[in-house]
Symmetry: C2
Subunit: 506 residues, 2 copies
């Protein structure tokens, strides 16, 4: 095996070639030696052999730096002070040189690992640099190549049936602009069509934040759902009080999400009943809520809310219900999108007869926005859905590079395969450590896997000590969010680490 | 004078050295020849001599490209399809090679001109590339150098008295997160302090979007103000119906902004009365509105709303009133900040005895967020003010490069000087073309100048034909938003172009 010299860091000696499946691809790379030498980034594609934890986390260097940072920036939610220059692939490195296998991935937002060579190349391109230094107001002054950038990137992976996009900055504004599109769509229909002008009363009342100009309508979301933390999105977020306390909210309706019991096979009837009850509640709210919902927003898997799944049949039912009542269906794929469930979009698992009306995206896409298909979702006049930047071409170019790499390496299929492998191993752990890997879920959903642990926060802290960076969700879930380059060997290391923690907590 | 070869473009023959004030600085540049040759960007600092309009706008190339783009992206607000690779300094170039002097600057968001050499250098740095390809979740995993990036950039230009920052993505979420901070601050005070725990009722009601957990409180804004277009910010935006129609809004209060009469010297008493009346209305709303305001948000100059100014005395009065009633003052410097008024922050013109509680920023900063000083504006628990990305180190690094360049070239002082020069020229135009440069305003406010025109939209369209890219605001204002590199020679070209238009419309 070839030996390669890496710059600095504590894990030089443990560096080994990547797994064969990746190595065969890497050998085709054409980076020149001079480009490599000029870089302060790690050699692409190479990773440490295993995690390595040398100090407490935070260690002495991190502690000093955190104290300095805290003077100007709130650090109370800080997890690890990270050395991104030294982080590589699936491994995150902290300020003290601790090397952790990262299955949290910046809250599920790193698609291809740290210092990915394909993204490095994209970041160095003139196109990217142009996007950085000449940031356009996309609605007014789009670049000449904007159609090309969209079609070769964001729209190349558009969900089936949705061929247009409104670009945004992050998940929250992607959802909120989708909500705005839904409100305008609904009011235009009520008004009699796109061609009907606003009334004087609508014009004047809108400036007073009063109906009819500011309508008494709503977005329906689900209990324990998460859709962002700005004022509109937070009104649909129902994850935890700490996300919502002291912030004014719209009095919008929420339906119960069908909280399934596991193993699914043992609770088929109860779960089907829970899903039917949820759909009945949705229908009741659509018909009876004092602020009529103009859209239902739903995550394919409630992610922040605790990794709550529902069956494809449930989502097909939801699509049927929303169509029946002329209400839009917005699928929030901010966390589930871009391959992690073993399909590019998680809602592909549902086999819908009619696509969602809008699909929102961000995180692993590194850009954001909502896809749509119906031309009537473009409001009837310009400047109704508008803001200064309306997205970011630099990040759209990055997403294009991500898409290219996902396709070139077959990373969606790889994630489906590795997820199945990992799930099997976790089933083994669940058998060996009763009570510690409760409600294991995400079978057949790629690496988007979670389980409940009675001492969840302790579990996460102990995992860090054995070199695993891992996140929680909801009240008691441990959520796995590996990157798309996570392979069987990483799954082995992960399970080995989790078993150490389970032994300790047994 | 040295002659330089530029790549492509229609204005090679007209290229001349930049004004002496900039040339003396450019000669100190140290870009290597090889770096220059490897680039597809224009030679730094050089500009065409004058605008050059060869086709209709949009011309044939643009028309075809816009039709293609419109299939996937709403183009109805499109102003010019822009060739950013060919745009340089103060000049924007469209798809057909038309070269316009740009005093709109991507809705006031380009600080240093197109393809600025200092930003090019920053964009090529390993630090920037690291920020692009390894985007952190800043609240959980900040980079080891995040304190340094903040202190040497965003915080280096922090408004006096405000030494901390919460970073965001754009103006809308900068304002909304500032509002959230204000609501939490208020409720913590009402609860008896940071240490007081939430009640069970607060916890449970917050999940239902009901008081007391989701409090019946408000943000007070001003009529014709603009603070963004997401649900919370839009509830404080009072610019135009087209911005607000069909979007549900919080029933928050608005006060009348003192609409001054010009020339100011001729209407001193009436203007003072208008400002006093506005302050009285603010006080009345603070004391009597059913949703008590916990903050007042105000722009130093109402920008989207029509370039409405008020006197420093008005703002000092507003600061005094808000302090008197324990209400926070949020100054929205998204459009006014970063030098355009001849001070780095427009509120520096006010000579406030106590700083604003929060100052929000974006646009020319190319990043976003809110500055604050009071440690109690950090909510009492982690994860209350939080989101996945919480800003963007890549854009923070860009802002640092902008700040460095602004300081190195003295661009705030330069803008103050050029603004005075430009204002004098416009006074001349106003005298020669009665009725066309109405209510000329922005004297002493750098290049942040505006005037009213009875046929505003025609005026803007005609300006384009003579090579001036310029924007409107409010119902009838033409707003000038040159970049900070706008010099006397550009002011001469601008005035020459405006005079051509005025003659035609006379």
């Amino acid at each position: 095996m070839a030996s390669r010299v890496l710059r600095a860091g504590s894990f030089i000696a443990r560096t080994v070639p990547p797994p064969a499946s990746v190595a065969s691809v890497l050998s085709r790379r054409t980076f020149s030696v001079s480009a490599r030498m000029a870089s302060s980034f790690y050699e692409p594609g190479w990773e440490p052999e295993a995690p390595s934890v040398k100090t407490e986390i935070p260690g002495p260097k991190a502690k000093a730096a955190i104290a300095e940072l805290d003077q100007v920036f709130d650090t109370r939610s800080l997890n690890m002070l990270t050395d991104y220059q030294k982080s590589v692939g699936n491994y995150i490195v902290d300020a003290d040189g601790n090397v952790l296998l990262d299955v949290y991935a910046q809250i599920a937002s790193i698609p291809l690992g740290y210092n990915n060579p394909a993204l490095l190349k994209a970041a160095r391109s003139d196109e990217m640099i142009n996007g950085i230094i000449n940031r356009p107001a996309l609605g007014n002054f789009p670049p000449t190549d904007w159609a090309h950038v969209l079609k070769s990137g964001i729209l190349k992976v558009a969900p089936k049936g949705l061929n247009q996009v409104f670009t945004a900055m992050a998940g929250s504004d992607a959802n909120e602009t989708a909500y705005k599109a839904a409100f305008m769509y609904r009011r235009q229909r009520e008004r009699g069509g796109h061609h009907v002008e606003f009334t004087e009363e609508e014009l004047s009342s809108s400036m007073l934040n009063q109906a009819p100009g500011a309508p008494q309508l709503s977005i329906l979301s689900f209990k324990s759902g998460f859709h962002g933390r700005l004022f509109g999105s937070l009104s649909t977020t129902r994850s935890k009080p700490i996300h919502k306390l002291d912030i004014p909210a719209f009095d919008w309706p929420q339906a119960t999400f069908p909280l399934l019991q596991y193993p699914l096979a043992d609770h088929a009837a109860a779960n089907a009943a829970a899903e039917a009850a949820s759909l009945a509640e949705v229908e009741h709210l659509l018909l009876n809520h004092p602020l009529p919902p103009c859209a239902v927003v739903v995550e394919p898997i409630q992610s922040e809310g605790g990794d709550n799944h529902a069956s494809p049949a449930f989502f097909r039912g939801l699509r049927a219900l929303t169509r029946k009542h002329g209400v839009l269906l917005i699928v929030d794929e901010v966390q589930t999108g871009v391959g992690a469930t073993g399909r590019f979009w998680a809602h592909e698992h549902w086999d819908l007869p009619h696509p969602p009306d809008m699909v929102t995206f961000s995180k692993k896409a590194q850009t954001a926005g909502y896809y749509y298909g119906d031309p009537l979702l473009r409001p009837n006049k310009p400047y109704r859905q508008f803001n200064t930047w309306m997205g970011d071409p630099a990040r759209a170019i990055l997403f294009r590079a991500i898409v290219d790499e996902v396709e070139r390496l077959g990373l969606v299929e790889s994630t489906a395969r590795v997820g199945g492998y990992l799930y099997g191993k976790l089933e083994g752990l669940a058998g060996r450590y009763p009570g510690q890997f409760g409600n294991l879920r995400g079978k057949g959903m790629g690496t988007f896997i979670a389980f409940d642990h009675p001492k969840r926060d302790v579990f996460l802290a102990e995992a860090k000590k054995v070199g695993i960076n891992i996140g929680g969700s909801g009240q008691s879930a441990v959520r796995l969010r590996p990157m798309l380059i996570f392979q069987e060997k990483h799954a082995d290391l992960l399970v080995e680490g989790l078993e150490k923690v389970a032994k300790k907590l047994a």
